[in-house]
């Protein structure tokens, strides 16, 4: 689909999972440090995905192939 890296949805879900784990309060300090770093990185990753996103790629099916969709505004 998109690329080999984490998708936005996967990253966001992972971030939500981390916060839940941190909230549970059952983590050792070392694990908390790891989760914290991971969480901050994931948040940045999600932000960057949105920030760096260009215009959507629009394709059109033509004769069983994908061609660029003509004259999208913007």
């Amino acid at each position: 689909m998109m690329d080999k890296k984490l998708s936005f949805e996967e990253a966001l879900q992972k971030l939500e999972g981390l916060v839940k784990e941190l909230e549970s309060g059952n983590l050792e300090l070392e694990a908390s440090v790891t989760k914290y770093n991971e969480g901050i990185n994931l948040a940045k990753y999600c932000h960057d995905l949105l920030k760096d996103a260009e215009n959507v790629i629009v394709k059109m099916v033509k004769d069983d192939e994908l061609v660029d969709f003509p004259n999208t505004n913007e």
Binding site: L18, E23, S32, H47, V56, K59, F69, T72
Partner: protein, 424 residues
């Protein structure tokens, strides 16, 4: 008598008069089919209205024709409103049309209701069959006309809201004869390609005929059978097509579908920021808690004055040693020997004391006994008189001539009483 003639003009005038005054002909509603359709350069339209057996000429003048909602053509079935009159110049009678609409729309509504009921009964609208619309689609498929305004609106809105996704347009005819097959083909193709997580099927607004393809049974089934979730987006908010009932989610318009199909990046940014703050906060709180726990431990006496621990143990050592010493067997032996000596000494003393006491008591008793001995008393000159072995204690016990026995310390004698003297 010669018959009186009238002129052609007079005849036509009379016919016109008769027709114009016939209320039945002045407001007619006619169902017919159009033929010989001609549009005059001034905008009037001339045509013939017919059914299987008969026909009548018709005219619709420009001021009425300009209000037409459709483009009449040969063979169209129509409902016509107007009146019948005579065109005197040609001597023809015809229908002067004031309003004309396409017949069959009523049929369309009926067909719509029938199909809707049928598909409802077959369970095509059931909530159990609705697939879930993904929250963060990777690729959105749009099945619509590639040239309409709708497709551009959808693309622009998705682009603004969620530029992370991809769009694939499946071009389809959305009105006219080929529309239903074109829509079915594209829905099937999208499923076959399997490139999209969600499909938008729809078109912009139009008349009920324009939207009709979305009321076709085969289109409804194609939507029903799609493995990819489908958002329907047909016409305006007030248009409800069969596809709207079958689809997994109905959007009021194509633009509305674009807003339903992807999340808004503004909201997403806020969500991420919130999660980031939460992570930060929870982590800081954890570190703080650990630090406090550590402080609580390091603040205890042991860490501050470790010698305290030694002192306590020293005390225990001393008390233990003392207890140990008490169990020394030699000491116990010595102590017990002392006890034995002590007891022996006390035993000797007590015995001596006891003995002396008893000896003394004995001597005293002997002495007392000695004093009471009757022989001793008799030695002093006393004697005991008995009469018939009974001791005589009073003079009253004795009579003259009684035989009495006299007992002395060193012998006895028998006596006879001669006289008695009683003391006064």
């Amino acid at each position: 008598m010669e018959r009186k003639y009238i002129t052609v003009s007079a005849l036509n005038k009379y016919l016109k008069y008769r027709l114009d005054n016939d209320q039945n002909l002045q407001n007619i509603l006619l169902k017919a089919e159009i033929s010989n359709y001609k549009r005059h350069s001034r905008g009037h339209i001339y045509f013939t209205l017919k059914d299987e057996e008969s026909q009548i000429a018709a005219v619709m003048f420009f001021n009425n024709a300009k209000t037409l909602l459709f483009d009449p053509k040969e063979g169209d079935k129509v409902i016509v409103e107007g009146y019948v009159s005579v065109y005197e110049a040609a001597g023809t009678y015809q229908v002067y049309v004031t309003k004309m609409s396409q017949d069959g729309i009523g049929d369309l509504y009926q067909a719509y209701e029938v199909l809707k009921q049928q598909l409802f009964e077959k369970g095509l609208f059931s909530a159990d069959h609705k697939r879930k619309i993904p929250l963060y689609p990777h690729t959105v498929g749009i099945i619509t006309s590639p040239t309409g305004a709708a497709v551009h609106d959808v693309i622009n809105i998705i682009n603004r809201r969620y530029p992370l996704c991809k769009i694939i347009v499946y071009p389809a005819l959305v009105q006219g004869d080929g529309a239903k097959h074109s829509l079915v083909k594209m829905i099937e193709k999208a499923n076959h390609d399997c490139l999209c997580d969600v499909l938008i099927v729809g078109r912009g607004g139009g008349s009920i005929e324009d939207l009709w393809a979305f009321n076709e049974e085969i289109v409804a089934y194609a939507v029903f059978q799609s493995q990819i979730p489908i958002i329907s987006a047909v016409g305006h908010e007030t248009d409800y097509t069969i596809v709207d009932f079958v689809s997994d989610l109905r959007a009021p318009t194509p633009s509305g579908a674009a807003e339903l199909v992807v999340p808004d990046q503004i909201v997403l940014r806020q969500t991420i920021a919130k999660l980031q703050h939460k992570t930060q906060f929870l982590y800081t709180a954890k570190v703080l808690a650990c630090r406090q726990k550590l402080k609580a431990i390091t603040d205890t006496t042991i860490f501050h004055r470790p010698q305290r621990l030694l002192e306590r143990n020293m005390l225990r050592l001393i008390s233990t040693t003392a207890r140990l010493e008490q169990t020394d067997p030699f000491k116990i032996l010595t102590k017990n020997q002392g006890l034995i000596d002590n007891f022996t000494k006390r035993l000797n003393v007590n015995f001596r004391m006891n003995y002396d006491n008893h000896a003394h008591h004995y001597q005293t008793t002997i002495n007392k006994l000695e004093l009471l001995n009757p022989l001793a008393i008799m030695k002093k000159g006393y004697s005991v008189i008995t009469k018939k072995s009974k001791i005589v204690r009073s003079i009253t016990e004795i009579s003259i001539a009684d035989s009495l026995s006299l007992q002395l310390a060193d012998g006895s004698a028998d006596c006879v009483v001669k006289t008695i003297r009683r003391d006064a």
